[in-house]
C-alpha cells in the first residue's frame, strides 16, 4: 500500500508530469507524420531518457508510444497514408469514410476506441503481470530456457510472411548477440581485435539504425508524389461516439482482447494486432459486404486492438524480460540501464516503480482524450510540415543520440550499417522483429542453456523433468516442428492435385 502511495508521488511529481506532457506532444507529432513510427519515437527518446530518473524515463516512452499509435490514424483518414504501420490495416477504410463525408466520425472513432483499447490493455497488464510474476518466481534456468525458445518461435511464426526468412532474421539477431565478451565462458567472440566490439554492438545504436535510419533511407528513395489532403474544417469528433459504443460492444471487447493477447506474444505488436483484428471483424460481422466502402465497424475493432497491444507487450517484458514487441525490446534495454532489471523480482524489489508504470499507462490513455482532440484540430498544420526539412534533422538527432549513449563515434557507424541492413531486409521480405528478439534474447538463451545442462549433468532429458519445464518444452517443440510438418504435408499434397 505504501508502495502505491509512493508510486503516485513519483508520477505526480511536477518534473514527471512535465516529461509526460512533452512526450505526449512528441508522440502525437511522430505518429501523425507518415514515415515516422512509434518504435522510432522510442528509439529517439532513449538518448534523452538516458539522463532521467527511472520513472520519468519509462513514463516518457509509455506516453509517446500510446499517443503515436493513435495519431498514426490521422493521416490515414485525411490523406490515405498510414502515419505508423499500426494504422495500415484500416487506412483505406478510414479514407473511404472521409470521402463519404464522415471525417468527424472516423477521427472520433480512432480517438475514442484507441483510448478504450489502451485502458483495456492496461487493466489486463495490471491484473496479469503481478500474478504471472508469482509463478515466474519459481522458474529455474530450465523454464527460462524453454520460455525464451518459445518466444523466439512465436516471433518467427507470427511475423507475417515467409517462415524461412523469419528464421534467417532470427539467426542473424542471435549471431549479433553472440558478439563480444558477454557469454558464459567470458571469451571474446567475433571481436577481431576491436575494443569497441568487446561490449557487443550496442543495442540502442542498433535500434536507432534499424528503426530510424532505415525509415530515412526509405524516405530518400520514395517515388510517390505528395498525396492529396482532405482540407475541410473538422467539426465535433465526439458526436455519435456513445452510439458506436452501444452499437459495437462486442467488436470493442474482441478487438481489445485480441490486441492485448497479440501484444503479449513475443515479436508481434500493434501492427499485426490491427491486421488480425480487422480481418476478424470482417469475418464475424453481420454486414461483411460493407467493409472497404467506408464502414466504421472494422476501424472500431482494429483501432482498439493496436492500442491495447501496446500494454499487452509489457506483460512478458516486465515479468520475464522477453519483449512483446519492438518497442518493449528497446524498453528492456532502458530498464537494465536504469537498474530495474526485468524479471519477477522487479515486483518485489521495485514495486513502487512498477506501480508508477501502471499509473502512467492509465494517465497516458486518459490524457489522449484532450491532447488527441487537439492533435486532430491541428492535423493539417502537422501534415504540412515539409518532410525534406524534417528528415535531415531527425537523422542528425539519430547521430547525436547514438553518440550520447557511450560517447563514441563507433555508434554512428553502427546506425549507418544497421540502417542499410534493415532497409535491405524489408525490401526483400525479411521481417525485422525476429532479429530484434534474437538480439535481446540471445544471451539469455545461451546462459540458461549452459547453466541448465550443467545442472542436468549433460543429460537433455533433464530439461523435461521439472513439471512446468516439461510442459513448456513440449509446447516449444510442437511450435518449432509445426511449420515443418505443414511444409511436408503441402509437398505431399501438391503432386496429388497436379
Amino acid at each position: 500500500m505504501t508502495a502505491l502511495v509512493t508510486a503516485f508521488g513519483l508520477v505526480f511529481d511536477p518534473y514527471t508530469i512535465f516529461v509526460i506532457l512533452l512526450s505526449a506532444l512528441f508522440g502525437l507529432f511522430v505518429g501523425a507524420v507518415p514515415g515516422l513510427t512509434a518504435t522510432m519515437a522510442t528509439a529517439l527518446l532513449v538518448p534523452v531518457t538516458f539522463f532521467m530518473a527511472p520513472v520519468p524515463a519509462i513514463a516518457s516512452i509509455v506516453t509517446a508510444t500510446a499517443m503515436a499509435i493513435f495519431s498514426g490514424d490521422i493521416p490515414g483518414a485525411l490523406m490515405r497514408i498510414p502515419g505508423t504501420p499500426a494504422s495500415a490495416a484500416y487506412t483505406d477504410e478510414s479514407y473511404a469514410m472521409t470521402r463519404n463525408g464522415h471525417a468527424e466520425t472516423v477521427l472520433g472513432a480512432d480517438l475514442v476506441f484507441s483510448v478504450i483499447g489502451g485502458i483495456f490493455g492496461t487493466i489486463v497488464l495490471v491484473a496479469a503481470a503481478p500474478s504471472l510474476a508469482e509463478v515466474a518466481l519459481k522458474f529455474s534456468s530450465f523454464e527460462y530456457f524453454w520460455l525464451v525458445l518459445l518466444g523466439l518461435a512465436c516471433a518467427v511464426i507470427i511475423s507475417m510472411g515467409d517462415t524461412v526468412k523469419g528464421v534467417v532474421s532470427l539467426l542473424a539477431g542471435l549471431l549479433i548477440s553472440s558478439i563480444g565478451l558477454d557469454n558464459p565462458a567470458g571469451y571474446p567472440r567475433f571481436t577481431f581485435g576491436s575494443i569497441e566490439l568487446l561490449g557487443s554492438v550496442g543495442l540502442i545504436p542498433m535500434m536507432i539504425g534499424m528503426f530510424a535510419v532505415s525509415e530515412i533511407l526509405r524516405y530518400a528513395v520514395t517515388t510517390e508524389e505528395h498525396a492529396e489532403m482532405f482540407r475541410k474544417q473538422i467539426g465535433n469528433v465526439f458526436r455519435g461516439m456513445w452510439g458506436l459504443c452501444k452499437q459495437y460492444p462486442w467488436s470493442v471487447l474482441r478487438g481489445s482482447a485480441l490486441g492485448t493477447a497479440i501484444g503479449a506474444l513475443p515479436g508481434a505488436g500493434a501492427d499485426i494486432a490491427a491486421w488480425m483484428s480487422y480481418a476478424m471483424s470482417k469475418k464475424l460481422s453481420k454486414t461483411p459486404e460493407k467493409f472497404g466502402t467506408g464502414h466504421v465497424e472494422g476501424i472500431v475493432e482494429a483501432g482498439a486492438a493496436n492500442n491495447s497491444a501496446l500494454a499487452g507487450a509489457w506483460i512478458p517484458a516486465l515479468v520475464f524480460g522477453i519483449p512483446g514487441d519492438s518497442i518493449t525490446a528497446i524498453v528492456i534495454g532502458v530498464l537494465y540501464i536504469k537498474g530495474m532489471n526485468p524479471g519477477p523480482t522487479i515486483f518485489i524489489n521495485n514495486p513502487e516503480n512498477i506501480y508508477a508504470v501502471f499509473i502512467v499507462f492509465f494517465l497516458a490513455n486518459l490524457l489522449m482524450i484532450p491532447l488527441g482532440w487537439a492533435c486532430i484540430k491541428a492535423a493539417r498544420r502537422i501534415l504540412d510540415v515539409p518532410r525534406n526539412v524534417l528528415m535531415p534533422i531527425i537523422l542528425l538527432f539519430c547521430v547525436v543520440g547514438a553518440f550520447a549513449i557511450n560517447n563514441t563515434l563507433f555508434a554512428v557507424t553502427v546506425i549507418l550499417v544497421f540502417g542499410v541492413v534493415a532497409y535491405f531486409m524489408e525490401e526483400n521480405g525479411y521481417p525485422v522483429a525476429p532479429a530484434i528478439l534474437g538480439l535481446i534474447l540471445g544471451t539469455m538463451l545461451e546462459e540458461n542453456f549452459v547453466s541448465s545442462i550443467i545442472k542436468a549433468d549433460g543429460r537433455f532429458l533433464g530439461f523435461f523433468e521439472r513439471p512446468i519445464a516439461g510442459v513448456l518444452g513440449v509446447m516449444t517443440l510442437i511450435v518449432w516442428v509445426w511449420p515443418l510438418v505443414k511444409w511436408l504435408r503441402s509437398r505431399h499434397r501438391v503432386p496429388a492435385t497436379a
Binding site: 539467426l171 530518400a220 528513395v221 517515388t223 557507424t413
Partner: protein
C-alpha cells in the same frame, strides 16, 4: 532492390562456413562439453539449413538475380540514398577535427539542398537546428560533443 533467394542463400552458406572455421580457434572449457564455440556453431548450422532452402527455392523460381527497385532507375533518388549514407560517413570522419557545430551545419545544409529545400530556408534552418541540438545535448544533457576547431570559442 530485390535480390534472388539463391544469392542470399549462397551468401548465408558462405557466412556459415566462415563462422565454423573461425570458431575452431575457440578454447574448450576444462571438464565441460559446451564452450563458447557451441552457440555460434548452432547458429551456423541454422544458416546452412535455411541458406540451402533459400538457394534451392531461388533456383526453382527462376526469378532474375537482381530486380532493381523503381528508384534505382532515377538518378536523383539513387544520389538521395547515397547522400544519406555519405552524410553519416562524413559525420564520423569530420566530427572530431571540425567539431560538432561546423560538421552538423554542413551535414544538414547538404542534405536539405539535396532534398530540394531552397537555400534561403536551408541555411538558417541548418544553423538554428544545430544550435538547438547542441544546447539540448551539450548543455542540458552534458554529452561531450566535440568542439574541434572551435575549441577556443567554446561556450
Amino acid at each position: 532492390m530485390r535480390v534472388n533467394d539463391a544469392i542470399v542463400g549462397a551468401c548465408l552458406i558462405a557466412l556459415a562456413v566462415a563462422i565454423l572455421v573461425h570458431i575452431q580457434g575457440y578454447p574448450l572449457i576444462p571438464g565441460q562439453k559446451y564452450g563458447p564455440a557451441l552457440f555460434p556453431g548452432v547458429i551456423a548450422v541454422g544458416f546452412i539449413a535455411t541458406g540451402a532452402i533459400l538457394f534451392v527455392r531461388g533456383l526453382r523460381q527462376g526469378a532474375p538475380l537482381l530486380v532493381p527497385g523503381p528508384w534505382l532507375t532515377r538518378p536523383a533518388l539513387v544520389t538521395n540514398y547515397l547522400a544519406v549514407c555519405a552524410a553519416l560517413v562524413f559525420y564520423v570522419v569530420a566530427a572530431d577535427p571540425l567539431g560538432f557545430i561546423i560538421t552538423s551545419i554542413v551535414f544538414l545544409g547538404v542534405l536539405f539542398l539535396k532534398f530540394g529545400v531552397r537555400i534561403m530556408v536551408a541555411l538558417p534552418v541548418a544553423i538554428v537546428s544545430t544550435l538547438v541540438m547542441h544546447t539540448l545535448f551539450y548543455k542540458v544533457l552534458r554529452v561531450p560533443l566535440p568542439w574541434g576547431v572551435l575549441e577556443r570559442f567554446a561556450w
